[in-house]
Subunit: 204 residues, 2 copies
Amino acid sequence: MSTSKRARTDYHHGDLAGAVLQTAGKVLEEQGVEGLRMRDLARRAQVSHNAPYRHFPERESLLAALAAEGFAMLGRAQQAARTAGDLRAMGEAYVAFALAHPQRFRLMFGGTVRIARHPALREVATRVFDGLAGALEREVRSTGARDASVAAWALVHGLAQLLLEDKISAAARGGRDELAFARDVLSAIRFVIRPGAPGTPQAD
Amino acid sequence: MSTSKRARTDYHHGDLAGAVLQTAGKVLEEQGVEGLRMRDLARRAQVSHNAPYRHFPERESLLAALAAEGFAMLGRAQQAARTAGDLRAMGEAYVAFALAHPQRFRLMFGGTVRIARHPALREVATRVFDGLAGALEREVRSTGARDASVAAWALVHGLAQLLLEDKISAAARGGRDELAFARDVLSAIRFVIRPGAPGTPQAD
DNA sequence: CGGGCAATGTAGTCAATGTCAACATCGAAG
DNA sequence: CTTCGATGTTGACATTGACTACATTGCCCG
């Protein structure tokens, strides 16, 4: 798998952007964001230290691309879970994604990438979330359930984060492995929409 | 406030550790973790570029100290809310803390500090969380409510995180300011312990 | 009271890194 | 065939975290 797509001269790489993004993904999952060095990626692609900058004008551009990829993955996982099961399945899929790609998840939500500066990223992210919120609201079919759906999402997201950062004491986990624990936690409560809930305040 | 405590010679600073930690806190809140440079802190303390290393052997030690400070603050906020109100007050205080100190919160939960390498930090963090969980369980007084209390915490934590990272669409927020929105979201659901919940699986 | 020691601060150095500017090479379009 | 835009290369620079060796200080103990 050495010179896979190196079709042309070998002055031009053929698909540097793709190659860099791919190995960046690997490095990310292995070493975390801090371990991502532009020059290292150049080395791995057998290319001069500055070549990657043709495709990612600054380091953060690369991070943004990686985060965008992550949101795309998360979106697909959610879709799959949604067609295959109910709300709880979607929640479990969310947590499962975070546990399967911890560093990617951190990159997506850690605030390292200033999202405002990366419209493409912003767009993927909001699309995924809008889809998610839509599915939630539809499941919970009830007017004024928008706030409740945010709560559901927050619950799942927070659980993922706390598990990732190892903030839940062993005592609370009680020996269960992470995914089983998550399942139990999500099952431990019933989500009841409050009657007088504000929902969407200004009716449109 | 220039040479506040510079009691001694002015070769020795008097309280470099404290000074560095303090200005590091300011820089953190203004510029985020990435903006924290050891050498810059040295400059601000009017001290050689290496002096801070006497107190924080590596950059991450400083970050750990800052995070520890953060957990202490959070702990106090939780205590205050707990004596002053109910569960919901504690939840709101949690979110309020995150919104008031976004960068600090990110540092505490962003996975930048490898917590395993900083026992002191680990200890403060777990103490705060154990206190939190304890309070929750006591409030929800019910056997097998441990998982439910984790859920409550996850909900609040996730909500804080999503607000911080600006991941909640304007449509969902519906014009409410962040804190009011958080309040509404937390009020939108009722937390009902599930009858057949596993709780602590292996009874001890 | 005085000497020495541990704590604290300084000076100098090094390898990495992100980023910029100027130049080289290539493929394709006219 | 020429020219041009895209892609890669070379070289340079400032900054940073970290290491080592050395200086200064205050304080403890005899």
